[in-house]
Each structure stands twice: as C-alpha cells, then as structure tokens.
Symmetry: C2
Subunit: 473 residues, 2 copies
Amino acid sequence: MDSSESFLADAEQCLGPRGLTRDHELMEPWLTDWRGRYSGRACAMASPGTTEEVAELVKICARHGVPIVPQGGNSGMVGGATPDESGTALLLSLRRMNAIRKIDANARTATCEAGVILQTFHDAVAEERMRFPLTLGGKGSATIGGLISTNAGGTQVLRHGSMRAQVLGLEAVLADGSIFSALTPLKKDNRGFDLKQLMIGSEGTLGIVTAATLRIVPEITDRIVIWAGLGSIASARELLLHCETSAGDALEGFEVMPRQCLEAVLDHLPDARAPLAGDHEWHALIEVVGDRAEDDDLRERAETMMAEAFEDELLDDAVLAANETQAETFWLMRDSIAPAERERGPAMQHDISVSVERMPAFVDAAVDRIEADWPGTTAVAFGHLGDGNVHFHVIAPSGSTPGVWEDSDGRKISAQIYEMVCEWGGSISAEHGIGQNKRAELERLGDPVALALMRRVKQALDPEGILNPGKLV
Amino acid sequence: MDSSESFLADAEQCLGPRGLTRDHELMEPWLTDWRGRYSGRACAMASPGTTEEVAELVKICARHGVPIVPQGGNSGMVGGATPDESGTALLLSLRRMNAIRKIDANARTATCEAGVILQTFHDAVAEERMRFPLTLGGKGSATIGGLISTNAGGTQVLRHGSMRAQVLGLEAVLADGSIFSALTPLKKDNRGFDLKQLMIGSEGTLGIVTAATLRIVPEITDRIVIWAGLGSIASARELLLHCETSAGDALEGFEVMPRQCLEAVLDHLPDARAPLAGDHEWHALIEVVGDRAEDDDLRERAETMMAEAFEDELLDDAVLAANETQAETFWLMRDSIAPAERERGPAMQHDISVSVERMPAFVDAAVDRIEADWPGTTAVAFGHLGDGNVHFHVIAPSGSTPGVWEDSDGRKISAQIYEMVCEWGGSISAEHGIGQNKRAELERLGDPVALALMRRVKQALDPEGILNPGKLV
C-alpha cells in the first residue's frame, strides 16, 4: 500500500463510504470552476457530514501531508476552490453539512452549517418573516461557507455591508484539526484578537469554515425601485449623496450603468423595454425599502426625494416602478448586464474598487485611457457605485478571436487597469477575492508590508501549507 | 556607555529633545493607570510627532531589544498601557500625534492621528454638521488610537457598533518598524486577510496604531429620551424587542439599571429626583434619534411606541423627557451610577457579556447566587442590555475593609462570576479588554484553541515580544 492508498484508507475509515469518493464522474463537475477557466485533479472528494468529521479528516491529511481544497457551491470567480493539476490534493466538499441549526427572530440571528445554499437560507429565514440582507447572482449555488470564506458582497452592501458584517459567530477547523468554536453571538467581546475576522475572507487558506451564526433583519414591508437617467457618472455620485441624505438607512441599493450596458441588455432580453424615453449617457437603479410598520409613506418619501433631485438638476429623468412586477423587471435588467455583455464577444472583466468619491473620475479616466490605448475596444463600468465598486469590462475589438485575444491584448489590458487602480489607491479585487486568478497580480502590485504580514499569518496558522495551497498568498 | 544609555542616545537622536524625556515628574502621571491599580516604571517616555518617527523609534527599540508600551489617554480600565516595574520598557505616548487630517462630510469619513482625544474629535466633526457615533465616559481623555487598540464600546453600540465598526482605514507601525498603511477607505476590498481587523482590539501587542480613517454619520436632528419603570429585567428585554421592532434603526440606546442603582444615584446627586413616581424594581433608559429631515414626527412615534408597550403590559410606567435639559438629566443619572456605587464602599466590578436573549436569566441567576454564597454582599447589574453587556458590581458587606476585602473575598467572587459567565457562553471582558488585569483569568478560562491561535499570531507578528509585553497574551 503506497502512501496515497494509506491516506485514502484512513480517510475512508473516518468518513465511511458515503463521505469519500474516487469516482471520476462524481468528482468531475467539481474539478472545474464554474467560469470554466480552471481545471484540476484530486486524489478523492470528501463530503463530511459533521464538524467533528472535518476535524478528524484534517488531522489525517496533516499526518499524510495531503493538501486540502475546501469547496462550497463551486461558484467562485477566481478559481479559489479548484485544485491544481497534480492530483495530490483532497477536494473537501462542505455541501453535505447543510443544516440550518436555529433561526431566532427575536435575537435576529440564525445559525447554519457551511454547506447551506444561500437561496435555501433566504427561504428559511423568510418563513420567520425575517430576511438575510445579502444576495448575489449565484445565490442558487453559493454556500454560506463559501460566502464567508470569500467575504462576498452583492447588491445590498450599501446599507448592510458585506459578508463580514453579517457574521456574528463562527466555527472553523484549523490546519492541525483543532476546532475553533465561536458560534455564540456576543455583541461585545474583547477577549483579545478577533480571530473570526481572520477566517472571513481568507479563502480557506487559514481554516475551513464549518458553521456560522449570521445576522438577520426584519423582512421589508415595502420597497420602491427607481430608474433614473443621468448625463454622467459624476451626476450619479451627486444623486447618490442626495439619496443618502434624504432616505438615510432606507437606501438599500444604488447601481449604475452606462448607456452601452442598457443597450446590450435590451438586445439580450427580448421583451425588455427601456425604462425611460430619450437617450441618457448613464442610468442609476435605486432601491429604498421600508422595514417598519411606520414606513407606510415610503412611496411618498421616495417621490419627494426624486422631485428634489430633479429640481437640483441631479438627473435628466426618473421613474418609480409602479408595482412589484416592474420593480423586478428593473432588477432583472441590472442582473442581465453580465450575460448580455458576454454575447458581445471576448471581454476582460475586472472587479475593482476605489474610494466612492473618486469613482466617477476614475471611471471617466480609465475608460478614456483604455479605449485610446487599445483602438477598437469598448470599456464599460457598471455596478455598485454606492460601494465604490464597479465591474470594469473591456470588450474586444470586433473580429477578435475568442480564446486568443484574452491571452494576448486582454492580459495586457488587465495589467494596465490594475496598475491604474493601484495608482488611485483602490483594490484589484473588490468582491471576488484572489484565488488562483489574481495571485500573481497581488504579488506584483500589493503593498509589500501587507503581503509580508499575510505570509507570516499564513505560516503561523498553517505551517505545513496544507490548506488550499496555491491560492491567495 | 552601557546598553541602556546607548539606546537612549539613539532614541533621542531620532526624536529630538522634545520627543524624549527621562524627567520623572513629566513621566510620573503616565506610569499609573487611572484607576490607580497598576504602577510601573519606564526607562524614558517617547512622544513622537509623526508616523515615520514612530517607525524609526520601533526599529531602534527592536535593535536594542527594548520593550515598548504604547499609550494614548491612559484611561484604560485594565492596566493595558502601564509598564511593568522593571523599568526596562519605553513608554510610547501617541498624544503628540493629534492632527485631524481630513473630515469629508460627503464621503462620511474622517482621518485623524492616534493621539486625537475623542471629545476633540466629536467637536471637530460637529462643526461639519456630522457626528462620530461612539461615545463613553472617558471621552475627555481617551484617544482615537487607544479606542481602536481596545475596540472600545460605549452607549451607542446598539445601533452603531463598537470601535471596530467605525474603523474604515488604518495605519500602524509593526514590530519590525515597517508601516502598515491602509488609510484609504475602500468599502469593498478582498485582497486577502483583513489585516486591520487584527490590529483593532489587539491592545498594542501586534502593532502601534498611528492613524485611522473613521466612519462619521449625519448629525441628529432630534432625540427623544425615555425613562421607563419595570418589574423585572425580563420585562426590560421584552420592552427592548418591542422598541427594536417599532423604532428600527432610530433606536440608539437602551440601558437598564436595578432599583438599587437608582437609589445610589439619588443619594449621590444632590439635586436629582426620581424620574417616575412609585417604586420600580428595574429602570430602562431609552433613546431614539432622528437624523433625517423627515424625522419631524419623532416624538409622536416615540409616544406611540411607548403607549403600545404599556398596552402590552411591558412596563409599569414611563416618561418622555420634556426637553433637552431633562434628557441630559436622565443621561447624567445613568452616567452617575459608577461614581455613586463607589461611595457605597469596596466593590468588585465586572464588565461581562452573554448573548442578549440570555442576559435577563443570567442576571437573575448570578445576583441570587452571589448574594446567597457571600452573605452581606449586594450584587447589581446595569448598563447596555441591548448589547448583552452589563457591568456586574458586587458591593462588599458593610464594615468590610477597603483594600483588604478586594484581595480576599472580592477576588474569589470575581473568579466565581467569570466561571458563571463562561458556563453561559459569555465573555469575561465585553468592553474593557484584557490588559494586565484579566490576563490570568483569560489563561484560566479561555478556549485553549483560541488562546493557542492568539499566541501563534503574536509570535508571527512580534517574534521578539517587544510590543506591550505582559499584556493580553
């Protein structure tokens, strides 16, 4: 029995036949990331059912020196849950750990295991007339553990913050198989370093998240969704400031897109119509919500807010969705930008942030610079203006060869965009993380002090390097 | 020239005569913590004026192996900024670094240096018609750097969170003298581990906070302060739930105190009168605020909220402060509990938390148990019920000798309380931190996995142990 067989025998004994497979067909869907950019191999796929099994398994891996690649819904954007091609790693699926242990509407907390799918969690919380204030496109497959490990964002960060802000308690298995258990949510706890913060966003390189206690909030009693047409992204920023002042905490979403994105969406969605008459260079999608019984005048307040904005010449035109169906249509149009853009040919996508107040100037400068330096390209920036975070896409000149353009000009364009972002004091990864995809760029452009700190922390918590090697740091 | 003289010569050359003193009279006020429980000695007191000077100084300390004790306003509660008695450490005062670099009302951020005093910061932010949503009793001396290093709390945590939630960007000098610079506030940034979270609350053991970018929020347009009388702390929790549902984000404070605390305050404040007629076992102080122009019906909403609570029999009686003067009087009574209690003789104070929903049962159980086990003592719990955090004070039997009782029965009582807190899944330090004061108790009662993790992180970031030795971990 060679060392690999000996490891697999130990792992199988720990997990039982249901918990470990080497069947290629069963493993295959999980060995390529969902964007199809990374593929790898694994010696087996483990599917433990309890935290104790995860801990035991990690101890076995540590003993045999087998690297572990934790995986949730496999819907990450940067190849962070895909093993390398060596086939030495164990793919550790958390999907069987899918219990929602407790929902406490009074305490506004819910405790669930890492493998719970976001949509499932939303539904369970809604049954208690509460909601979990984080959502994103991949909600049908993304798991709580993956969302925590990548500190996921989405469209409600403006008011509620990213995943980090939702995590009140955490349980994780460390590199030596010990269990870090801090599920009890204490609003105040100053017993030293806040270790759960280290786990959040660490992409499985410091520990394996097995369960969490999350913040839930009251269900919304009403929402008003507004579409506004604007002359520039600078105006959009002015309008955002106005809405923040006027609506306060009721402002839950503020997304922007340029004219080209709306055109692409209208081409992509056969039944869609432009929400506004006339041409507008920029569009904003705004959502205000009520979550108390007192908020029965929400529509009136939203109308006042927009009328004032119009008087102050912050926008060209605006419309309030007349009903929930129209509100959903507006959001569908926003959510269709990415698929609509994909139909327009090869493109390089960049998930970047700068400080909110600098974003309009950055977008204008970066679009001009890229389109000037790379004739024939179209650069568009859309998304979460309120968070200082846009998706900056560069579409290849027509006639470019898919699969070739990305690896030649596309790669150079990305490098240039990331350099600009750093010059502006921003982040080359606002939401998606580093994974395999941006590791070299982080190495090239990251702050050397921060990188050195991260390496020290990684070395301290995972000295043998068995947790998700080749990712992040 | 011995090694100590050689170090001081290097340090003086770095900082100049204004930046370094060995004058005992100048140092003396800073060598005892403000509660007078810890005294130490230092080889000198450094007062650098810039981050670069701090960095240079830390390099000199590292070279000479001189430990550093960073200090802000010296108003901590656990001896975390007091050197030991060996006299080998350098006391590093950040108080000269007191510039408020920028206040940006639009971006809702302010950047200031570590030595800025909280009250000064409040005043500066108020001039821009904004506010910094964290306040506490020591605001006249506590500094921003100290508040960050201890993850301070206060009376607005219920809505706004503790210091951790206010820190958007951070600058710190690490143990090797390198500068970790992340002052630019990015609402979204997923470039690996969130290193600033490690610095927050680490009590100067992982790095020296030199500057921060903080969250500011709109000034309040109105506030309503309510005093309610209740039959039990369980009722107070029910009332809290009602207010959370009814007022939503407008609920900014919810403090409780038992009858004994009010009596002590009335004895302590010569002009004070009980806010309510009749006897009530428990009292709650509630604040709701408006921070938008639309909030002009705040009083009406608060009245409705309390009328509903009365109908639901959640309280015995309540009164809304008629004006700002009365509102301030209500808060003065709350803030006078600690000094009023001190007049009642020797006492052991405990800053503890359990999950909010368990707090009423915990308080009832712990008060009964302590008073039964230690005849003649009076146990009172008061404070931030909304945060699951109370100050649990045990007053010595009358006739106990101050200075003796604390070190005999008092110490045993504290140990018993901390054990109970741990049994209930709570924290032995909700707000004040560990410092010197609770280090042994953390060692005794802390989760071994968490403690091992902390030691690894400490070892990784400060391998020579020069940053605030003898504190926390």
